[in-house]
């Protein structure tokens, strides 16, 4: 019996969402009186022993350049073998793009019930019940997993990373690495930008900004705060911003610490993707904009007048002027 955490990596570095998954898995191990181990696939540049500070006892590695791209089928088989070898009864993923590709396959392969999009530790007082987001952030479901092995994929930004002192044992796992049936011919990453799904601060613009030429009001503030940028659906549809920035019911669902919305009305479909954010700020010239009902802080005002002043004030706060 143990908890096994899949540590997702990109370009040789463990992702922030993977540390959240590690802490979450370690907390479940503590709760159920067992240990937490992790598995990481591909070539890693980070110091893996340091994963011990997230509560992980042992890290299983499969160093193989073929695993630097995630292939759901190949990864599933290796993780299933590792789960069997380590006797894992709970397996944790981050509910990010890779988690969504692998966890469902693993669920079938191990005949293990999956809850995707978990937002809290399981209730193990009577069975094994996991709270997850449903209805695009408008509600939660408490889902009982009734199989011997349980898989949980944790929503990014739902569980705090806490570190202690600790060193993990790092051991190579002897895996059979199948040839992938899917060939990756090209990858195209936006370099130097914070990935939206992992960002702690998101600055977002809507149709109220009138046109792409005004987007420096969004991007300047984002740069100052190390934030990612997002937009409402019509903004992506008209091509003012790239599609991957579209948040909402039919775009990406995010839960940053701060969601800062400029010139967005706050339609129900938009709120569905952002209402799990811890703090919501709304800048809108219409006092009746529905977004104010979902906001924590707001300014009823013209973004073109208010935003430059906010950017100045942040610069001052950061000691830049």
């Amino acid at each position: 019996m143990s908890v096994l955490i899949f540590l997702d990596q990109a370009d040789g570095h463990i992702k922030k969402s993977a540390f959240e998954a590690a802490c979450y898995g370690a907390a479940i191990a503590k709760q159920t009186g067992t240990i937490a181990e992790a598995i990481v696939l591909g070539s890693i540049n980070d110091d893996l022993a340091a994963i011990g500070q997230y509560g992980i006892t042992k890290v299983h590695t499969v160093k193989n350049d073929a695993l630097n791209h995630v292939d759901a089928q190949v990864f599933t088989k290796i993780i299933a073998d590792a789960a069997t070898a380590t006797g894992a009864t709970v397996i944790i993923f981050s509910n990010n793009f890779n988690g969504k590709a692998i966890a469902p396959r693993l669920s079938v392969r191990l005949k293990a019930g999956l809850v995707s999009g978990a937002v809290a530790l399981p209730d193990t007082s009577n069975g094994f019940i996991v709270k997850k987001n449903v209805f695009s952030g408008k509600a939660f479901a408490n889902v009982a997993i009734n199989t011997a092995i349980k898989i949980i994929s944790l929503n990014p930004n739902s569980f705090s990373v806490v570190t202690t002192i600790g060193t993990a044992e790092v051991a190579a796992f002897a895996a059979n690495v199948d040839a992938a049936k899917v060939t990756v011919t090209n990858t195209n990453k936006v370099v130097g930008e914070v990935p939206l799904s992992e960002a702690e601060i998101v600055i977002s613009g809507g149709r109220g900004l009138k046109g792409p030429e005004n987007w420096s009001l969004v991007t300047d503030l984002a740069k100052l705060l190390g934030a990612a940028t997002a937009c409402s659906r019509p903004v992506a549809d008209i091509g003012w911003r790239p599609h991957h920035e579209h948040v909402g019911q039919t775009g990406l669902a995010i839960a940053p610490n701060l969601y800062f919305a400029i010139g967005i009305s706050g339609a129900i479909q938009h709120l569905a993707g952002v209402n799990r954010s811890k703090t919501i700020v709304v800048i809108n010239k219409d006092p009746e904009a529905p977004f104010f009902k979902a906001a924590d802080y707001g300014i009823v005002g013209d973004a073109f007048e208010v935003m430059p002043k906010i950017i100045e004030a942040v610069k001052k706060m950061k000691g830049l002027i």
């Binding site: 793009f97 590709a101 396959r105 079938v108 695009s136 479901a141 009734n146 990858t187 979902a294």
Partner: protein, 247 residues
């Protein structure tokens, strides 16, 4: 080419989310039902485009649900499916649903199985991956572009912080999202034609669900917005720094 498109019925995006029976059931009274947007706008429309490019292509639709799904399936047929299969069962467990779909897929020998990236009600994002594993097929998730070249496909999919181009030999399971196609509205000819298209109802095979929903909760209400004067935006920055401690 045979394509199977998975269709799910979901509440309209503006539906009021409330629960009944001691918070154990979604309160469906008065709710408007739609085809899950990802299934309709992206998976189904892309399949229709492939059929428009190659008249020999056949599109089958599959849904797991009771008779109240029929209007949704008829709409999907009106958009352009050739034939629909409804597996007559009510379940919210992804494994149960995926198993039923995989049975249909096995029997039909489809080269392509399309799903939406997730349903907007249970947000599982699991059916595609599960069906692929049950069929032992490759799975490309969160696809934004799909191009067919003979018996292989070039697919662009979203990855963290960017995108990846994949090539894969058919058969393959693909979960579809924005970028794959543009939403369409069924026309009169489609709606009339859909009435005579076959909608086969089959009974489910016995499968044990892995999970069960014990109850639902609604998030706590927000305390209310704190408004800052537009003449003093500096105060907002101070509040975010000192009170909310988010910057």
């Amino acid at each position: 080419m045979k394509i199977l498109v998975c269709i799910s019925k979901t509440p309209d995006t503006t539906a009021k989310i409330a629960f009944a029976d001691n918070n154990t059931k979604f309160a469906a009274d008065g709710v408007q039902w739609i085809i899950n947007p990802y299934d309709e706008w992206y998976a189904l429309v892309r399949a229709i485009e492939l059929k428009e490019a190659d008249a020999a292509t056949v599109i089958h639709l599959v849904t797991v649900g009771l008779a109240d799904c029929d209007p949704i399936i008829r709409k999907a047929l009106a958009l352009g499916g050739d034939e629909a299969i409804r597996i007559n069962a009510d379940s919210h467990d992804s494994y149960y649903i995926a198993s039923q779909i995989a049975n249909v897929a096995k029997e039909g020998n489809y080269e392509l199985v399309f799903t939406g990236k997730e349903t907007i009600d249970y947000n599982g994002s699991s059916i595609g991956g599960m069906v692929a594993e049950l069929l032992d097929l490759p799975y490309v998730s969160l696809a934004t572009k799909f191009t067919l070249t003979g018996t292989s496909a070039e697919i662009i999919r979203e990855i963290e912080g960017g995108e990846e181009t994949d090539t894969v030999q058919l058969s393959v399971v693909v979960s579809c999202q924005k970028g794959m196609a543009e939403q369409r509205i069924p026309n009169m000819k489609g709606i009339m034609g859909a009435r005579s298209k076959p909608l086969k109802v089959v009974e489910p095979s016995a499968v044990d669900a892995f999970t069960a929903i014990a109850s639902f909760d609604l998030p706590p209400a927000k305390a209310g917005v704190k408004l800052v004067s537009p003449d003093n935006p500096e105060e907002l920055v101070r509040l975010l720094h000192e009170e909310a401690k988010v910057i």
